[in-house]
Amino acid sequence: MLEIRNLAFSAENEADKVDIIRNIDLNIPDGRFVVITGPNGGGKSTLAKLIAGIVKPTEGNIFLDGKDITDLTITERANAGIGFAFQQPVRFKGLTVLDLLRIAKGKNLSVSDACQFLSEVGLCAKDYIHREVNASLSGGELKRIEIATVLARDVRLAVFDEPEAGIDLWSFQNLIRIFENMRKSMENRTIIVISHQERILNIADEIIVLADGAVTKQGPRDEVLPAIAEAHFATDICQKLA
């Protein structure tokens, strides 16, 4: 169970304070597939980073299985079973795909096991396993490798920030299959996916809509999805500006 209580994050600008996450409360029970959606700039990535420990909250607490993890470092949270796939994956000069997967796995990982993870994300393993994770990889390739690093860790709570971005149509089914496999292989594993894609929303157990730093809707897919279809949240910002 992931519990978020009164969580707030604000960033200091030169003059004023900008509230990016405004006192959010959330309960995500084990074994759920949750999709967080909402307008650009709504605070989705920030919430994910708060969960992974990359950003420290200005207020509030986060509990994993009843344990307060608010003060844990990124490393400690990783070791507590939290995995995070970045919206914009990081490139490394010199580290190969195999190096990264080995670091992710945390122990000796054979080349053939590493290849398994690459095949799962639809990359031909032998072409990629010894490639450097540098600027020579395309955006979509990098995104798939990012997903593979989370698969290799076999985490208890996985957060994917727009995993489908830059991934071609053909692999969409593949991506959905990855999520299904992840759920099958660990019963109580929680998967949180940040996405704007209807096809991902369609497979969610639960949908959370985050706009302007606050949860505006939350509930089972069948309740939230029709509501989203009606409210064109993309236009909210324009209305606000007007």
């Binding site: 992974a52 990359i54 470092t73 990124i74 490393t75 949270r77 990783a78 070791n79 939290i82 995995g83 995070f84 970045f86 994956p89 990081v90 490394f92 000069k93 010199g94 580290l95 190969t96 190096d99 990264l100 670091i103 992710a104 945390g106 690093t149 860790r153």
Partner: protein
Amino acid sequence: MSKLDAVQLQLLREVADLHEIPEGAYNLRSNGESAGRRSTEHIEIVSKSEGSGIDIHIKAGTKNESVHIPVVLSESGLKETVYNDFYIGEDCDVLIVAGCGIDNCGKQDSQHDGIHRFFVGRNSHIRYVEKHYGSGNGEGKRILNPVTEIYMDENSSAELEMVQIKGVDSTKRTTTAQLKENAKLIVRERLMTHGVQTSESIYRVELNGDGSSADVVSRSVARDNSYQKLDACIVGNAACSGHTECDSIIMDNGRILAVPSLEANSVDAALVHEAAIGKIAGDQLIKLMTLGLTEAEAEEQIIGGFLK
């Protein structure tokens, strides 16, 4: 190599990956003296008359053979300058492994200045691997000032891999190259300095023949209070292409001066240089920490990969 003690054997492993007598031709220099040598049918090693080094003659047409010429110094206070000349005939394809390991447990400085000249014949290819390594905890400094001069004939190619990762207190590395028509030079340098070490690395590559090319890439890491100067110059005197890249990570109070430069004396010379210095990117550390590494472990992985 039975004459060598444990320290000397350790140095040999570090600089030449040697665990036993290498195959092929070799010359081992230990504490200022020859400690073993073998010439082969195609590769002849002879002492210079003044005793200040060796000449290595590689016969035309020699393929898939190697020469190892490691140097180890384990006596404190030893200072030497050694001249090694490589005469590589036409149509060869050889691997040359040099390298110097210094262990200094004493109070006096130990210094080895190896001056290597390569005359690469037409259509020949050489791969040259040079590793420098220092160990020992004496106050005496470990100093290495290698000079590498390469003269490349038509259609020849040379790949240079120069590595200095640990333990050398002070180094001034000078590499010069002159390339004739269609000759091709590739240099990969890896440097790491720590403590209060200083390192100066100078390249001057002259592209004299049409179709010649050079690619000089230096990756370095300066940690603690160390200082590095990287000075890579490519001169284009013909219809040639040259690329130089200095890519560095600084940590702690490390300092780096990178001075890549280009000189074009022909309108058909195409030359490019790049230089970048910066600390380890924060998002790289964060990514590896989300995979379970501590910050220090993440740093080690990033540097290890960068210098690989």
